[in-house]
């Protein structure tokens, strides 16, 4: 079971990492924010899998912290006027 959970964790991490190509390609900054959002959710999933698989102390609490801050970056971007321009 441990091996399966570790494998699933690595798979999800790689998947959302591929999604980071959106950060490279854009075209608009809002697309990059979306890619970061997906990485955040995937990172939380990978963290939970890793934590349950290897019984790391604190893994679920780190996931809890990340979940609380999940919207923070995107909210900061939108509320500081980010989407108003800046596509390259």
């Amino acid at each position: 079971m441990t091996e399966f959970l570790l494998g699933a964790s690595a798979f999800i991490l790689l998947m959302v990492a591929v999604g980071l190509l959106r950060v490279l390609r854009g075209p608009a900054d809002i697309d990059r924010v979306m890619a970061a959002q997906l990485l955040g959710t995937g990172g939380i999933a990978a963290l939970l899998l890793l934590g349950v698989a290897t019984a790391l102390p604190g893994a679920v609490d780190v996931a809890l912290t990340l979940a609380l801050l999940a919207a923070f970056a995107a909210v900061m971007f939108v509320q500081s006027g980010g989407p108003g321009g800046g596509s390259s």
Partner: protein
């Protein structure tokens, strides 16, 4: 009982992983910001939801299980709000180049 739990874990976590795969493919392949947002929310909701559901049989304490569910609920809240904000920004034309 253990076996049933393990099977449930394998099935649900695998399903969740598939949703993350779908989310990534959608984010990369869909043509504009609105449709990409659509792909993103599926991975957010169902991907993480299924992974959490699948992990529940592996957790042996009730507080531990509740914490997992709390992580999912909080991510939902964040995801829903970000989707709203992004969609509104795209709608106002900020998302198009």
């Amino acid at each position: 009982m253990m076996l049933v739990g393990n099977i449930a874990t394998v099935v649900l976590v695998s399903l969740g992983a598939v949703f993350f795969l779908a989310g990534t493919v959608g984010l990369l392949r869909f043509p504009d910001s609105m449709t990409r947002l659509h792909a993103l929310t599926k991975a957010d909701n169902l991907g993480l939801g299924l992974v959490v559901l699948g992990l529940l049989p592996q957790v042996d304490s009730v507080p531990g299980a509740l914490k997992l569910v709390a992580v999912w609920v909080l991510t939902q809240l964040a995801g829903a709000t970000v989707t709203q904000l992004v969609a509104r920004a795209v709608w106002r034309g900020g998302g198009r180049s």
